[in-house]
């Protein structure tokens, strides 16, 4: 009887600790998101979106240049990264299905997903900034694209593999060549999944700062020239938060809010699409 009591108490303690850990996780989420929300909304003004930065001390500065720069870098990164990722994933799941080379590239991509993004920044600095002689927006976009490619590639591979093989065979039986089967049958079957992968990869790179620090750098002036240094929200947040001025800190919070909302919305949208297409997981 005594032993049973001991076991029950032990179980109770362990389970309470686990529950506590879960509450702790939720506590951080509420704490961090709450702070970003409160301080961000406090600092949210129309000027933030409409004006360019002004010298510290002057009123009415904004981050229009950083919003535009961020959009441009992310857009071009997507334009470079998504086609390469989707096509690469297609090769692994279709033409090279089951082969050793597909396994190898798949594993390497998984590793590349988690490789430190700052290292990719130094790599791009060496090949796209140093030869040109100055920081430029293209370097930032390529750095983000390199981070995107393995993410898109792996999700595409997984999503194409979920399409039943019999579906392809039905199309082969009608005499369709493989590329037509892939484009007209397999891609359609996996479209929702691939789209989710793309959305999540955009969410992933939209918050990246480290690879932009030495590629697109920063620019206090409004610029849409990708051949020149270009501002981005994340690098501006880093610069402003580390700076000494309260007005800078406020703008950094507001920019953080916008980025967080954008990324969380993409993440939730991705989950909704997956749930709608593939049922409850």
């Amino acid at each position: 009887m005594k032993r049973e009591r001991k076991r029950k108490i032990e179980s109770f303690i362990a389970l309470s600790l686990s529950t506590l850990a879960a509450l702790l996780g939720l506590f951080w989420l509420v704490f961090i998101l709450g702070d970003v929300l409160i301080k961000g909304i406090e600092a949210l003004t129309p000027a933030l979106f409409l004006n360019d930065p002004v010298p510290p001390g002057m009123a009415g500065g904004g981050l229009r240049n950083a919003f535009v720069g961020q959009l441009m870098i992310t857009f071009f990164a997507t334009l470079i990264g998504v086609p390469i990722g989707v096509l690469g994933g297609t090769f692994l799941a279709e033409y090279a299905r089951g082969r050793k080379v597909a396994r190898l590239i798949s594993v390497l991509s998984d590793i590349m997903v988690s490789v430190p993004s700052i290292v990719i920044g130094t790599f791009i600095y060496a090949i796209l900034v140093k030869p040109v002689g100055h920081f430029n927006g293209w370097a930032g976009a390529v750095a983000l694209a390199i981070i995107m490619i393995p993410v898109v590639l792996r999700t595409t591979e997984d999503m194409l593999s979920l399409v039943p093989w019999t579906l392809r065979e039905a199309a082969f039986a009608l005499g369709a060549p493989y590329y037509k089967v892939i484009i007209q049958v397999v891609y359609r079957g996996a479209a929702a999944g691939i789209l989710t992968g793309i959305l999540l990869s955009i969410a992933r790179v939209a918050g990246e700062t480290a690879p932009l620090l030495f590629t697109s750098f920063n620019n206090s002036y409004f610029s849409t020239n990708m051949n020149e240094p270009i501002a981005s929200l994340t690098v501006s947040i880093f610069q402003y938060a580390m700076g000494p001025y309260d007005s800078w800190h406020a703008q950094a919070w507001a920019a953080s809010l916008m980025i967080t909302v954008f990324i969380l919305m993409l993440t939730i949208l991705g989950r909704v699409i997956i749930r709608w297409r593939y049922g409850k997981r």
Binding site: P83, L87, Y95, I105, V115, P150, F217, S256, T267
Partner: protein
């Protein structure tokens, strides 16, 4: 695998295009290794390998560089973060898979995954403005007045609490990797067959005994892989720690001192490097970080693959 595509010229072209696209990953890895190696070769020639790894010098004026201070900071910050994150993450995974009522499982799972989606720069800024003052005012003085008086352990908490130090950076990093570790552990736990758990319950096991003796042994490969994967992530995390570590090149016994990690050194000094050997040394650091995290991640992948294979049998 149909062979028929070989007859069709468009199919051949399409297979070559997709094949080249998939090779891009390989090109990046080899390219990064090659470029970082050539860029850092002046530093490799001047300082060698062992000398660079063990030298605590980091002096741009005398142009004498070593990786020891950055490696030390990386090791300590990562260690602190894992010590906090592993128990918390496993607790969360146990809660989600075994304790939570069904209607709570999915919301908590989603909340944890949202925590993982928040970009690292937000964690870093939050750490600088919110956590660092809390550490300075409350937690660090409290640690000093309690643990600080114990011999040996007290060394860890010497100095003036500033909030910009190894401990704060480790805590922020732990908050950042908890959701990541938790969701992999949860997936691993979920692979335990229901029937095995039911059998243990039928023998009269308590819930904790089922977790401890059935679920954890069953999923240990996956959980271990998840932990190593988190380690790989933590090694290369930049922005979460860049705000609160202070970039101070020293080896310190106190956790309340500013320090530098490889990533923080790169983030702060890369654009300011004014001599070739300085820049080459920074590339050298980046190369070391890349090799280090690549090996760690490969080990993690190895364990996760083995765990997967075990369950697909």
């Amino acid at each position: 695998m149909p062979v028929l595509f070989k007859k069709n010229p468009i199919d051949v072209t399409f297979s070559i295009i997709t094949g080249l696209a998939s090779l891009s990953v390989l090109v990046f890895i080899i390219g990064i290794l090659y470029v970082l190696f050539t860029e850092s070769s002046p530093a490799i020639e001047k300082f060698g390998v062992l000398k660079f790894l063990t030298s605590t010098d980091w002096d741009p004026v005398r142009e004498s560089f070593g990786a020891a201070t950055s490696l030390y900071g990386t090791a300590i910050v990562t260690a602190i973060s894992l010590i906090i994150a592993i128990p918390a993450a496993i607790g969360i995974a146990v809660f989600i898979t075994e304790i939570a009522p069904d209607f709570l499982k999915s919301p908590i799972g989603i909340a944890i995954e949202l925590l993982a989606a928040i970009p690292s720069i937000i964690y870093g800024m939050w750490g600088l403005f919110i956590l660092a003052p809390i550490m300075t005012d409350y937690i660090e003085p409290a640690l000093q007045s309690t643990l600080g008086h114990i011999p040996l352990i007290g060394i860890l908490f010497e100095g003036t609490p500033m909030g910009i130090d190894l401990l704060t950076a480790g805590i922020i990093l732990s908050i950042m990797i908890i959701p990541f570790t938790a969701s992999i552990s949860r997936d691993a736990f979920n692979l335990t067959p229901e029937i095995v758990k039911e059998s243990a319950y039928a023998l009269g096991a308590t819930k904790w005994e089922v977790v401890k003796n059935v679920v954890i042994p069953y999923s240990k490969l996956g959980v271990f892989g998840g932990i190593v994967l988190s380690l790989g992530r933590a090694l290369g995390e930049t922005m979460a720690v860049a705000f609160v570590l202070g970039n101070n090149h020293q080896i310190t016994t106190s956790l309340l001192d500013a320090a530098a990690t490889i990533t923080v050194t790169l983030a702060n000094e890369f654009t300011e490097a004014d001599s070739d050997i300085y820049l080459a040394s920074l590339f050298y650091l980046a190369l070391i970080l890349f090799v280090l995290s690549f090996i760690t991640l490969a080990i993690a992948k190895f364990f996760l693959l083995r765990a997967e294979r075990r369950f697909s049998r």
